[in-house]
């Protein structure tokens, strides 16, 4: 017969209420008509967090292509224009022949722009929401568009 004690049952009762870890994976599809573009993603990421049911954890958002970025900064049209000019200055598209990567392709500069803006962001999830400062917004930065690309959202927590 069972030799389980009352205390042990109490202890197990408490232990088994452990909230299990949750993970969810979401893919977004991007397709910008221009070579370079910025797409605001915050609401789509927040929606993925809500659907995941995760209350406390972290949320990874990354470009799945190597000529695009996911980054966090301001949703302000002047700044987006400034970023575009600045990135073109630090990693110019022309002349395309300056890059060995170019030949069949002409997108070497996009591989550099993506490094400057980063591949991914990792965000805290607190009380079921993106734990953001007042101006933080998630953006997709496209540097070689006019074709389909994907963004991955991975949420892990409890």
């Amino acid at each position: 017969m069972s030799n389980i004690s009352v205390d042990e049952i109490e202890s197990m009762r408490k232990s088994v209420t452990i909230v299990p870890m949750k993970t969810t994976t979401t893919y977004l599809t991007m397709h910008t008509p221009q070579r370079r573009a910025f797409v605001h993603l915050t609401s789509q990421v927040q929606e993925a967090v809500r659907k995941s049911g995760v209350q406390e954890g972290i949320c990874l958002v990354n470009a799945m292509h190597i000529t695009a970025s996911v980054y966090i900064n301001d949703d302000e049209s002047g700044l987006l224009r400034d970023y575009d000019v600045w990135l073109e200055k630090l990693a110019p598209h022309e002349p395309v022949a300056q890059y060995r990567h170019n030949g069949a392709e002409d997108n070497a500069d996009a591989h550099m722009k993506r490094q400057l803006m980063g591949r991914e962001v990792v965000c805290a999830v607190t009380k079921g929401k993106l734990d953001f400062g007042p101006w933080e917004q998630i953006f997709y930065g496209e540097f070689d568009g006019r074709r389909k690309k994907r963004v991955l959202i991975k949420i892990i927590g409890e």
Copy 2:
């Protein structure tokens, strides 16, 4: 009556010793008197890790403002000065009129400097401590200070 077997009790005894996932959230307040400054954060982050009780996991540290960075590099005054000069070269503050974002504000360059240095770091926690190489130190990089900002530390693990 209960139909639990001795084997099952043994199995449950083992299972319920699962260490549950832990998460903790800590906010630091920054307020630098200068427009640009570097603040060493390693000991505050290490203290948050210790308090969390997490032995194995990861630790996210991010600026909650979009004109500031959290990054990992050397705690050496010459290098901090070099970073300041270098960032000013790649994303100059003056002339402020070169940026469309400026007008009511004059901090467009700070939004660029922050992208170069990054928003966040993700650190491994191993045996209850930041799992760092010999020279790794966490810094807050302020590029538009003279006001209150926050840094978030999220720790997730077991």
Copy 3:
């Protein structure tokens, strides 16, 4: 005697099948004969993911030294050459006296190149594998080599 009910046993039976969180830590050693070099790491990281047994989670890969990067981009020799030229343009090694950090050392530029390419990548693990787009490859970027350095792989998930 035990006052556990049949329903409670059923409920506990279900609860205790919770898959526990797993974490694993792996260290790679790097030693490039050149000052600057790129080393392809994808297969070693994928192997660490396989060994961890994690099916769903995230994988942090970071340089443990502050003159090296871990980043994700293309495995294409022309691009690697372009990155080298471009990084040298944005953060030139010579003249070494332009940097205050230099003196006993001559690697200030390496601390800047590392910031441009980043310290770490955080990757999603889905169905037991790195959840990557078609061209994503993990690289170690060395900017002050000719000595032993380490890369850390931390995997967390279930």
